[in-house]
């Protein structure tokens, strides 16, 4: 089109034509939508998708000034002189400029900084997830572990602990819909397809009062479909060593809406089947998001499904199932928003989710089947005044539970009539007392009702949750914060996979009722945050948490199992705990070199019975360095370094012989038994890990292929997961069982 115009104007002969190409100075990539304006006039144009531009002007303009500008890049001003020519080609290399990029990223963060009464939550962008080194493929939960306040007990699980809370105490929301057990592959990878994620924010403090359903944190994940950001049909097809996936979205003008659809599945089982091998495992997940406007209302319909399947059969007789294990989530949510010129927002939501869990062992020996349905309905209204923002809300969670556990040697129990209902009414008020001080307070009144006809139990009680936070601004770049809150949790994990040495986050959730009151915690936080430079954000926050009531699954031998009721009433023990620490974050979000440095100090103890001991995730010192570098010529590189105190463990103090009878009245044989000391009193060696990645982009017209090579644990650090003793030697040799070794991987991501 430009060429046609160009020749046409030349034929007319009354015009001059300025043309050329604009590209990124570092990557040499063409830049589209660059603004080109003749200074002092209204004449201008923009570059096309290949970075070309053509500006046609009257031949009376022999000498003039042109300004090239684009958000995120340094402005270029060029003096142009035609000198008798009627055609001139000027190519421009534009440099990314952090000071300008703050217009997008930093100002968004500063807006949050200025408007929130508590410390700004740690956040991750889609770019972080895609560019950072991967464990087989990009994984949100593995990236989160580098954020301050986050610790974990092993590489084998992506479940994390936040500020000393147990992994089950993190509430995970995907587009405001809660997910239970959002993990695949027994926790090795998370249930989120990184290609569909736009951002994730981790609230380890300043959790809004409406989220009074977990003791520790809220992970708020937003998908790409949110906010109607998708314009044209676009998508991402991905292939890693683990799975293949497709994410695509588009605007549908005729319906005044847009949608996002994302699916992912492991393929190793299908691939190996071609070669005659049987891999009895696979998982899949899928997500959709649809937004539309109907008059003054925005309607959002979203859904998620994720399932894991493990089916191990006897080699000789395939009709015999050795292990059959599947679990997953199904979620459907409807949200309606009504906004009036940003002065108020009315939000109505309704959702349904189902978490199921099925385990069948040794064919007919052991079967357990669990189902949790959650029905949610609620409404929230937010009104903005000049210095005041008030939010009121009402929500209800209805949870019927169903468990069937069957030891087919004669013992079976089932809970089919347990259900709980939680209605919360809350109000939050955030007001600015002056330009220097924001105070926010909130209260939630929750009625919790649980009932079990089988157990002859009926509970009805009210619980109150409070939030108070304040932020004092020294200036536009520095502020101190204080926040306090009490938190409740109404379901707790239980079941056979708890406390097996490795945290397998496939929990068997138990509703609290009868003698069990909801878990309760209090958080106190004192923070300091701001910018050291325009592009360098920092936060420092100290915290103290008290767990007034914690519930833990007992060891099996301490559970009375004569009846279902007795089992339920004796399966949990009550305890308490405390955690305190300091989190520090230094983050550079823009520029060709970005990343963050985080340091966390943590002490976390729990008390159950007469025992006081550190939690499994009590890593006292955690240092993480994450760097992303945009290199020239379409390359990008990332590294992630972790250096942490070793996790606590229970050591063996001695050994003794246990004399086991081979059969009644018969001879015996002696076996060595190791005797354990007090729980979690010693630590593994420090945890060290370096991950690295290198990515390259290939362009095919408007499409892009990204190839990313990652190496997990580049140094092959022998981080100890557990110790065991080899009794083939005398004395027995203490041997480490290490966490994940060096794992290289490759990912292909095709964007269209």
């Amino acid at each position: 089109m430009f060429l046609c115009s160009f020749y046409l104007m030349l034929l007319v002969g009354k015009y001059n034509v300025l043309t050329g190409e604009i590209y990124d100075a570092a990557t040499k990539e063409p830049l589209q939508m660059v603004n080109i304006v003749i200074v002092g006039t209204e004449t201008g144009t923009v570059t096309d998708d290949k970075g070309y531009y053509s500006l046609i002007m009257s031949d009376s303009l022999g000498e003039f000034r042109v300004r090239y500008s684009m958000m995120g890049y340094g402005q270029v001003v060029k003096d142009i002189k035609f000198s008798g020519k009627d055609y001139l080609s000027v190519d421009i290399a534009m440099k990314m400029e952090p000071l300008k990029l703050q217009g997008i990223l930093v100002s968004a963060k500063k807006k949050k900084f200025r408007s929130s009464a508590s410390i700004t939550p740690s956040s991750l962008s889609q770019e972080d997830l895609m560019m950072l080194p991967s464990f087989v493929e990009g994984d949100l939960m593995r990236t989160i572990e580098a954020l301050p306040g986050v610790t974990k007990s092993s590489d084998f699980s992506t479940s994390v602990s936040v500020r000393g809370g147990s992994p089950d105490q993190n509430r995970v929301l995907i587009d405001d819909v809660p997910l239970l057990n959002p993990f695949h592959l027994f926790g090795l990878v998370s249930a989120f397809n990184s290609n569909a994620i736009k951002s994730a924010e981790l609230y380890s403090s300043g959790v809004p009062v409406r989220h009074d359903a977990s003791l520790s944190s809220v992970l708020d994940i937003k998908t790409k479909g949110v906010g109607r950001e998708i314009e044209d049909l676009s998508g991402v097809a991905s292939l890693s060593l683990l799975s293949g996936g497709l994410t695509m979205g588009s605007k549908i003008p005729s319906l005044n809406s847009n949608f996002l659809l994302s699916v992912r599945r492991t393929y190793a089982d299908k691939l190996l089947a071609l070669f005659g091998y049987d891999l009895p495992y696979y998982f899949y997940d899928g997500y959709f998001h649809w937004e539309t406007d109907i008059k003054d209302w925005s309607l959002v319909l979203s859904g998620y499904t994720g399932k894991d399947f493990l089916d191990i059969r006897d080699e000789d007789d395939e009709s015999i199932k050795i292990i059959a294990f599947d679990w997953g989530n199904d979620v459907l949510a409807l949200n309606l928003f009504h906004s009036n010129a940003q002065e108020d927002l009315f939000h109505i939501f309704a959702g349904y989710s189902n978490h199921d869990f099925f385990l069948r062992a040794l064919d007919t020996v052991f079967i357990t089947d669990g189902n949790i349905d959650v029905g949610t309905i609620g409404a929230e209204y937010t009104k903005n005044f000049k210095r005041n923002e008030i939010t009121v809300g009402l929500e209800e969670y209805y949870r019927p539970f169903e468990y069937n556990v069957n030891f087919q040697m004669g013992f079976a129990y089932s809970y089919e009539d347990i259900w709980s209902n939680r209605i919360s009414m809350y109000i939050e008020d955030k007001f600015g007392l002056s330009d220097y001080l924001i105070i926010s307070g909130g209260i939630a009144l929750t009625h919790y009702y649980s009932e079990s006809k089988e157990f002859d139990q009926e509970n009805s009680d009210f619980f109150r949750a409070y939030r108070l936070s304040a932020k004092y601004f020294f200036n536009d770049f520095r502020a101190v914060t204080f926040s306090f809150g009490n938190f409740h949790q109404y379901i707790v994990p239980g079941g056979a996979l708890i406390d097996m040495g490795v945290d397998i986050p496939i929990y068997y959730w138990i509703p609290l009722g009868g003698e069990y009151n909801p878990e309760e915690a209090q958080h106190f936080n004192l923070g300091f945050e701001g910018w050291l430079r325009e592009d360098l954000y920092f936060s420092l926050e100290g915290y103290c948490r008290r767990y007034n009531r914690l519930l833990n699954m007992k060891d099996m031998e301490d559970i009375q199992i004569s009846t279902e009721k007795e089992y339920y009433e004796t399966m949990l023990e009550e305890g308490n705990g405390k955690a305190y620490g300091i989190d520090f974050l230094l983050k550079k979000e823009i520029g060709n070199l970005r990343g963050w440095l985080s340091y966390s100090f943590l002490k976390s103890d729990v008390v159950f019975g007469e025992e006081t001991y550190p939690t499994d995730w009590d890593r006292n010192h955690n240092l993480h360095l994450t760097l992303l570098a945009l290199l020239g010529k379409r390359y990008e590189a990332g590294i992630q370094v972790a250096f942490c105190t070793g996790n606590p463990y229970t050591t063996d103090l001695a050994r003794c012989r246990y004399r086991k009878e081979l059969m009644p009245y018969g001879e015996d044989e002696a076996e060595w038994i190791q005797l354990l000391g007090d729980k979690n009193q010693v630590r593994y060696p420090p945890y060290v890990r370096l991950d690295a990645s290198l990515g390259r982009s290939f362009y095919f017209g408007n499409n892009e292929l990204d190839v990313k090579l990652s190496v997990y644990n580049v140094l092959d650090s022998k981080n100890v997961f557990m110790y065991y003793y080899d009794y083939d030697e005398e004395p027995p040799i203490k041997k480490p069982f290490n966490m994940l070794p060096r794992i290289p991987s490759i990912e292909f991501i095709y964007k269209f």
Partner: protein, 246 residues
Amino acid sequence: MKRLTFVFPFLVLFFISCSTDETPFEHRYVINLVLKPDMKFQRAFVDSTYRLDSYLGSEHTGVSDAEIFIVDENSDTFRYSESDTLTGLYYSNDSFCVEYDMEYLVNVSVEGEVISREVQVPGLLTIFSPNHLDTVSLSDPPLLIWNTCEHCFENTYIVFPYLTGKSQESDSFPPMVIPDTSMGIFYAKLIFRDTDTNYTISVEAMDSNVYAFSNMWFEYGELKEGVAVGLIGAITFDTVAVWVEE
């Protein structure tokens, strides 16, 4: 970068704290004493804990010169004598007969320390189906065995599949805990998949008087306060023999 200097104290703390602590060895006496009704002799084994890193030959364990005596509900006292065959092995005198559903006080005195424990013996355990030497086929449904036990306690039933004369998969196949005094026990066919086809199946009723090794399933113990660990308890059992056709 000067502003980053406040990170320095944290780094110092970090490096200081990265040492690992090893808890020292803990000495305990180890008592294995299980009362069994209808047995002519009662057996006990007295031992101690040992360092994990010290060399021990198989014959270098066991504690001699322990004094073991049992007091029954009638205040009669029965004593154990040390065996000549194995260091640390003790047998009761032949006049001591353990009765079902009775309480006993077990006393072990070793090197100046006295360990005492009250033990409740379970009631009579009877397997009444199938009959001895039943024949089952691998293609049959899982074998069903019923049994009863009077005055047994919680956590009392443990099922062991035995090959005749030796144990079979008792390590890999977890014992099942059955709660009721009247129950059905289903055996998976997998138990019977071996070259031998003649099985003896034992159903044991253990009491809950476990001194320290409360978690028998996984065979580990936790050292708590006290001078001894081990197993002081009582057990009753019945067996059936089963012929399995391929």
